[in-house]
Each structure stands twice: as C-alpha cells, then as structure tokens.
Subunit: 333 residues, 4 copies
C-alpha cells in the first residue's frame, strides 16, 4: 500500500497511520524523495482504506498488489520522465539514444566520440572509467581523473554523461561530473550501493543482473526509490543462458513486460545483449519496435583498437547507419 502525503506532513500523521495499521501487522516505512513523501505499508491482511483516507495530510492511497510498490505502474497516472537539464529528457515519448566507447581511453578518444555524437544529434555519451573485470590483471579504467577530463570536454559540447559507479566510496567524488549514474549488471543486487544511490538526487540507470529476473530488477529499483531517489531508468542488457552463439541472450520479452509493470523508462543495451558487432543494429531495432524508451550502445572510432569490448563495438559509419534506421522506425511507431 502506498500512501501519498501532502507536502509538509508532520510526524503526527505518520503516527496516526501506524496506529491504524500496526494492529493488522503492517510494517510502515516512511519514504521521502526529491519529489514527494510516501508511507509504504507492507502487510497481508485486507484493509479498508476509508479508515485512514479522511486524515488530513493524505493526498491519495493506492493498494498495490505487487511485492514491489513505488516502482509499480499500478499507482502512477503517468510514466516517469527523467530530466537531465538543458531540455534533455528520457521517457517523454521520444526515443533516447546514448552511445560511446566501452572504456574512456583519453582525450582524442573522447573528442572523436563527441564529434560523432554531435553530428548525429545525440546528446548523451556513455563510457566507463571504473571497469568491473573478471580478472584482477586486466585494465580497470582511467578512474576519477579520466572522468574529470571527460566531463570538461562534454560540458563544453553540451553532452550529458552516463557512467558506471562500482562502489559507495566512489559516489561523492564522481557526483559533480556525472549526469546519470549507471549500476552495472554485477552490482544489480549490491544493496549497499543501491541504498547510497537512494540518497542522491542524480538519475540512476540500473542494469539487469547477469542472470537477474525481471522481478529482481524491479526490487533493486525499489531500493533506490524507497531510499529517496525517484529518477530511475531500467536497462535490459541480455541474460545468461545455455546458448553460446551470442555473448548473452537479449531478453526482448522483458521490454513489454517491464513497460507494463513499471512507470520507469526502459532502456535497451543491444551491444551487450548480443555481443556481436554485425548484429547490434538488428537488436537495437527490435528493442525499439518492442517499445523501449531508448538504447545505449557502444561505438568507437576504431573498434579494433578499443581497450575493451572490441567484438561488439560499432565504428562510426555503422553507428550512423543505425541511428538513421532508428529515426526512421520512430516515425512509424
């Protein structure tokens, strides 16, 4: 149950609600986000909302049958739009594109990418400065200094930045240089990281776990929302299956299912979703046709020289063709 509160609600209202609900064994959690105040009541008994509906300070009450609450589509009238400033927004009906290299590699690499994005009217750039690597001996990214350089160049060119945060202790240092924090597939259930991102007022894109369920992804989003941050995006990036012909199995089913279950924007990552450069465009097109709110994909001036993910990174010519195809598709759907 979600109880939406009026602004400036005082503690006494919360106490009154708890008094009504605790005899029914409901746990009440007070959630305060950048946009509103909510009381979440978790319990199993039937409850007549008229018992509290009249209390002053209550804006609305919603019975949500899902085991996640605030991210459920069942209570919100309209879908969430995530605004990034400068008229850049995700989820407002126009298909969003984010692109860039797997890893941020240095000044030239950043400039090349920015030029490509601007030439194609794309205003969100992806790239990693902290790289989760299965082997401790692999390249782990340029770190905070790389992010600062990137931010300076991106800002000058009015490009927004999305990049992965791997642990709680990085958040503070990264905060000023990031437009969207990305939670990677290996951290979808790093609950301490989710808790901490709930305290931030910057948007967060959560990738589905390597073999995470749709339900778990929604619960991870509930962590951040209930921690206080409503500005959330969800990202389908392929799941682990027995099939070895592709790196992951892009779960196209997840797109319409998530669109129905949640009010949050759904982004597709076709690069990781199939992991084969020749076929990234087909999966991007499929995701758009299935109703995704946007795509995030890997592109690089010279993919064969990229620091990582070479086999799934588009060169700029390929990326340009994909952008054109997506633009044409948008008009039909």
């Amino acid at each position: 149950m979600i109880i939406q509160l009026e602004n400036g609600t005082d503690e006494r209202l919360i106490q009154k609600v708890e008094e009504k609900l605790s005899p029914l064994k409901y746990e009440v959690t007070h959630v305060k986000t950048q946009f509103g105040d909510y009381l979440i009541g978790m319990g199993k008994k039937q409850f007549d909302i008229r018992g509290i509906g009249h209390l002053e300070g209550i804006k609305d009450i919603h019975i949500v049958s899902d085991d996640y609450q605030l991210v459920s589509s069942k209570w919100k009238v309209s879908n969430t739009v995530v605004h990034l400033g400068d008229d850049v927004a995700i989820g407002c009906g126009n298909f969003s594109m984010m692109a860039g290299p797997c890893s941020i590699e240095g000044e030239e690499n950043i400039m090349d990418t920015i030029n490509f994005l601007k030439a194609n009217n794309i205003n969100i750039m992806r790239g990693g400065v902290y790289k989760p690597r299965s082997s401790p001996y692999s390249f782990r990214g340029l770190g905070i200094e790389g992010l600062k350089l990137w931010h300076k160049m991106a800002k000058e060119n009015e490009i927004k930045i999305i990049t992965e945060v791997m642990q709680v202790s990085q958040i503070e240092a990264m905060y000023d240089y990031v437009d969207i924090f990305q939670v990677g597939a290996r951290n979808t259930q790093n609950f301490n990281l989710l808790d901490e991102l709930g305290k931030q007022d910057k948007p967060v894109m959560i990738k589905r776990g390597i073999s995470g369920t749709i339900n778990e992804l929604l619960h991870s989003a509930e962590y951040i929302f209930s921690g206080g941050n409503e500005r959330l995006l969800l990202c389908e990036r392929g799941i682990r299956t027995y099939e070895e012909a592709s790196r992951n199995t892009f779960d196209i089913n997840a797109i319409p299912i998530l669109k129905q279950k949640t009010h949050l924007p759904i982004i597709a990552d076709p690069s990781h979703g199939i992991g084969i450069r020749d076929h990234v465009d087909a999966i991007a097109m499929a995701a758009a046709a299935a109703g995704a709110d946007g795509v995030i994909f890997e592109t690089h001036c010279r993919p064969e020289e990229a620091f990582s993910d070479r086999q799934q990174t588009l060169d700029f010519a390929e990326a340009g063709r994909l952008i054109n195809k997506l633009n044409r598709l948008k008009e039909v759907i």
Copy 2:
C-alpha cells in the same frame, strides 16, 4: 565441402570423386534433392579443389567451414524461397504471416478463422490436429479427420495449411492435406522423423527445440536437406531459461544470427515466444524489425474458450491490429 553436380550425373563421377577424397579420410555422401545433386565431403584435411574441379559433371565446388553444409549460407548465391503454389511464397522479401488457432476445433472454428484471414489478406493458416501434450490425459487433437475437413474448407478459400506432424506413420495420411509440415519443438531432434521428411517434396518448417541451440536447429535442417528436401523454413519460438515472467524467452538474437548463417527463411513465433496475450504484438514487431522473414501466431474467435493456449491467443480484433502494425513496419524496413 559441397560439390554441386550437373543434372544426369552418372555413378562413375561419384566414384572418381570418392577415389580422390578417400585417401584424405573424407566421408562422401551423395545427396539428391528435388532441385539438384550434391556430394558432401566431410573431413578435416586441407584439400586443393583443383584436383577434382575439372571433372566433367561437376558444376561447382564450395568449401564450407561450418559443420553443417547444405543449409549454410556460405555456398548459395541467393536465399531460399519456398513456393507454396498459387503465387504464395515465403522468403522472397515480402514479410509472410501465418495465423490460426492452437488446435483445430471444428467446422465453425475453421470457418471463423478463414473469414478473418481472408479479410486481412493472409493466405496461410496454422492449427494443430495432432497435439503434443505433456499429460496423457489432455486433449490430443482432432486427428486426420479434422485435417481433412480443414483442408476441404481451406482449399475452397485458397488458404494454405501449416500443421504439425508428430511421427513418421502420420506423414503418408497427412500428405495430401498439408501445404507445410511443421516439426514441433519437442521433435526438433527426432531424427527418424527428420529422415522421413527428407524424402518428401512438401515444405517443412522446423521449430527450434525447447532448449535447442541455434547450431542444433541448423543440424536438424541439414538432416532434411541431406535426405532430399530443400524446401525448408526455420522457426524461432523461444527457449527455456530461468526467467518465470514469460512462458519462454524469445531469443531475438537468433533472428540476425540465423539470417547470417543460413540461406533458409526464418519465421518467428511470438505466441509461444512470450506466451502472454498482451505482449504477442510487441514480440512480433521486434522479430520483424530484427529481420525475420515472417511470423506465425495464434488467433481465435474467442480465445477464452479455445481448447488450448488460451493465455497467449489473440482475438481477431487484436490480431487485426497487429497485422496492420506489421504492414506499416514492412514499409520502413
């Protein structure tokens, strides 16, 4: 290695080729289909094709590195088109649609469906008369009499029939009443059935196994082709994964991967691929956008009364809207 032979090749040529190849430990199989003669050489050693290329009766020689041969895209100049007669063809560039109930239920059900198909310019009807059921106590289909009735009505209305054959002994009785034999997901590796269908001259659509790999699907097609039947379609219908939010996980990656690996037409089954009526359209659109040659989906006058697959069957209004959307999408792609 595929050696294409001229028509009317005599045994002596085959002997000559075998004499050249057997010292290299190549196994040679002679394949004779409705369209051509081939010798398939399976071996590991490097081989200089000039050693046999000059022999009279040899049209062309192709080195195919895949472990499947005749279904590989590596040797055929143009993609396979499967003609069904009366100007109905699959794989010729125009997106094909096949629709109908899960099970054929009787005269009224057939007539309703035919009327719907004709009103929407669809000329291939799906439906099961032999139903594979996990429980022996479930409805197993109307059988051959149902097929005969269906065929009579379909023929009068210029509708083609695709239906599942479950075992070798059914083929002969079904032959006159079927336009496309379907091999179901539980029979993808029923090799005796594949062998026998290789001897037929009617088209066969092979569904991917419930947890079959892309490679296994291609091998199953190789069985039928090498048995003598080139008129083949492959069908992606979702695979079994850990995700419980959908009946199967539609493997959208399989569409572009198969399109690259084989010259055969690729059909998508969004009904089984997601198994949720509300979302069949999203998956059909995605498959089309990813490059599929057609779709096959379940529709019924009153899905809630259908004998089987109620939860994933579209009613005619929903199916009509999907057909319109697919037609609009076709024009962009």
Copy 3:
C-alpha cells in the same frame, strides 16, 4: 484420483463410476496394465469417495493431488521393483549397476565388455545400436544386426541388455533381444513412442530430457504407465545450463526429489551427467550417497578408440575401481 479395480472387473462397474463422476466434470480413463486395472479420474472438484467406495469390484481409492497420478508415490504402499528375470531386479534395495560402451562396436568389443562385467559381478550391459546424432553425417550405430549379435553373446553369459529405442517402428524388431528399452534424452517427450512402449510388457528406462523438468519426466512416465506398462525406471543424466566447464549439469537435487515424488526406481547416469572421464566416479558416488537406486555408466576396453563418447568413457581399470568404491559405499548407506 486412482481407483484400483479387482481383477476381472466388467464394463458395468466402469459405467457406474463414470455416471457418478461425469456430473462433476471428471474425465475417466480406464488403464489396464500387466499388473492391474485402474480408473483414473481427472477433475478439479472436491469429491467424497464414499459415493463410490462401496461398489463391488473396487479394491481401493486414492486421492492424488499431483497432476501425474499412477507414477506418484502418494498411492503406492511400496516402491516399484523391476524384475528382469534370473533373479536380476532393480529397485529392491540393492544398488544396481549397468555398464558398457556408448555404441556397440562388434564382437570383440562385446566380448571384452562382457568379460569385464562378469569379473565384477555386474549383470546388466548398456550399449547403443541406434544412435541419435546431431549431424546426419555421423555414425548412427550397427542397428538390428548388431543387437542380435550382442543378444546372443549376452544370453550365453547371463547378461541383461539395456539399449535405446528411437522410434515406434523399431520396437517390434528389437523386442526379442532387449531386456530394458531405453528412451533417450531427445525422446523424453516423443509421445507416440511413449504410447507404444506403454503397450509392451518389457521394462522401460526413461531418461530426463536435455532440458526437461522433473515434472515433465514424471508425466512421460505417466504416459507409459497409463498405456499399460508399469515396469518403469527413471534416469537423471544431467541438464543443460549455462555452465561450460562440464558437458551437462548433473542435477543431484533430482535424486531425492524424485525418490519422494514417485515409487519408481531412480537411476543416475554420471557419464553424461558430467561428461568428463576423470570425474565420472565422483558423480556416481554422489548419486549413490543421495539415494539413487543404481547407476548406468560408459566403459570401454580402450576409450580413446571408442566410436563415440570417448571423453567420458572409463577404461576397465577405472571402472573396476569405481565399482569397488560403490560397493563399499553401499554398506554404509
């Protein structure tokens, strides 16, 4: 619901039961096996068994809540023992072993194996004469002539034969030469084959499907039982997962779960279950410790020269050590 009938029940009793049950929308199936007569009632409504319990000819009535019935452990007092004649039986409490090559290769190969088995007090030999192969160009087994030769030699040495049957048309020819028909992992849901094996009075061992669920395996057994054949064994042989370090993932959980759900004997196939020669013994031991009724494993005089499955076949020294270890383990459990 299972209604056990007295021997010599006449049609009138069945009619009476149907009259009682049909108003409750129960489907009644009459099952007649080599050991007994049953009426299976499938329906959802609560039913007071006293309404029919008094009828003459009814031995007992069992309410079984599972969706499989006759193979459920919920109605049978004692576990099934499958007798093969000559005092060889499976499921009677003493751990059974079956061993032999993947493919039957010829006289010498058969003799070598028989000698090994006799030296180790094993009296059931496995081997394939019809081999399901994913590629049509691979060796497909010696066929019926191989089986006849094998049978002659086995009979002289009092060795029982278990071998795979791939299709309905093979059953009759194989019948005289087989002690246990094996249904392979690709045929677990070949329902026509199951139907036909239900009409036989020889034991059948059903392997779990390549990615079959435990529930599907039980339903496949229900097919054969309800077709008339109670002499059944179930075999866990590993399932398909994302893990590539082993050929399959042996589902050890299936052993205790199946032992609880069904009265049928459970056999483990560690050779396919892990697919790595070095580790077959560990999995065999684990299966025995988990409560399996027996194992079936691959052994060959010279595994490196075997026609198939070389990488998972034990040589006779390794097999001998495993048999000793299993015998020691038996005493503790």
Copy 4:
C-alpha cells in the same frame, strides 16, 4: 607465469625480471601475501624460463596455462589448509562442518545453537548479521551489535564464527569478531570488496555467484589472493537454472572440477543448494561423497519460527542425524 620469490627480495630483482619480460609484452604484477612474495607475468608469448631462473632471489618458476594463476592447482605441491587457531583447520583431510541459523536472532538463539554444536563436536558456527534481501522492506539483520554479542558467547565456548560481509565499510568494524569472512553469492563479483578482503589476514570463504561459472569463482578468488590474502575457501551453493522443483540447482559437478583446478578447500552449502528441508541431508551426503572438504548448512532450534530461510533449515534432531551420517561416510571415503 608465477615466479616465487625468496623472503626479503629487494626491488632490483623485480626490475630485472620486468626488463626480461616487458620486451615479450608480459604484464608483471608483484603480489605480496601473508605467506610469500610472487611475481605474476601475464602474456601470450612462449618464454624460456631459463632466462631468469638463475637470478638470485628467485625460489621457483611455474608456467600456469590457466587464465587464473595463484589459485590454480598447477603450481602448488600440496593443497591449501586454512587454519583458524585452536587446532581448528579446514582442508587438512578431515571433513569440516559449519552450521547455524540463517540469521543471528538474539542471545537465546545463539546459546541454543552453540549448545547443539558442542554436543555434536562442531566448532564453526554460521549465521548472518548483515542480510542481503531482494526487497528493501525485509529484515536486514542485527548488524554489528549482534555480531559482538555472538562473538562474546562463541569465544567463551571455543566456537569459531563465519559470517557474511556485504561491503567494504563493514570490514574494519567486523574484523575483531569474525574468524572467516563470507562473501555472498550476490557479491562474488563485487570486485572492490574482493580487493579489500585481499588486504586482510583473516580467512575468506567466497560463494559462487547466483549464476556464476566455475571459472568466474576462481577469478574472484584470484582477486583476493593477488591482493595479498592466501587464506581462501570456495563454496558451491547451487546455481540458477530453469528447474523450479528446487530453489537452486546444486552443481555437484563443480566439486570434482574445482578440486582438480585449484588447491583451495571446497565447501558445499546444501541448504541453499536445494532449498528443501527434507532433502538437505541427501545433498550434503552427495557433496561429501564427491570429494568436498566440508559443508555449511542451516540449522535452528525451531525452524518454523526462524527469521529467514525457514523452508530449508534443519531442526536440531535432523541436523544431528545428518552429522552422524556424514561421520559414518567420512570413514569410507
């Protein structure tokens, strides 16, 4: 390549080795653990170890072909034994048992468990004080105060503590009260946590990821070892598959495969591995028979009242019987 160094090696040796290896494009990492000094050379070219073998300060050089190095069994003469003090050790040939509740619940719960363990000669107690929960509204554990209480009681009774650490910032506070840090299945690839645990000198048990591969588990261990901490245990706890009859699929294959690939002790967690109370004993026995070095399982005075994991927790009578069975089995193996 692993280059073992003599104690007290100075920087000049490292420089010399780097000078030899860098022309071959080898990356050299200096690893200093509580037990030794190593140089890890990662590269692809063949290398003649005689070129550096004579250098003073080099104890031994091992060419390891795996992509993990220090945790590989290919260079270590004997398997790792993890000593916990007071003559408690894991991996020394005698099967280890660890047991306790899912969550630490309070003084009575701790005392009950300790009494049970002592009565059964078990000296390592498991229990969670920080609980990873998929929903933010669930009980998250007693935290550090719960751990302090537990530690006080455990110390008085000579019981060792294994408990999960969820994030870097918890390590310091937990350090004094923990005998083995556990890395949970959702954190197997939390590389920052692994890095930090590499700097500790207390043992760490790493659980396999929810759908982690065997290879990824070994790489995660390599992170900790190369960070400086050799005192490692690996834990198989079941993987995520399509099978719904059990909570997870315990990968029994992983036991012998890991025993062959690494010198680290392998622990089995049958409670999570099957997730069904009735069958925990069968899986524990199977793991022991397959060669595991120990088990960790959940037990509680009154499982039906436990704060979490009720469906898979043994009561003390069941746990006592399991311990007896494992002790009998140990004698045979």
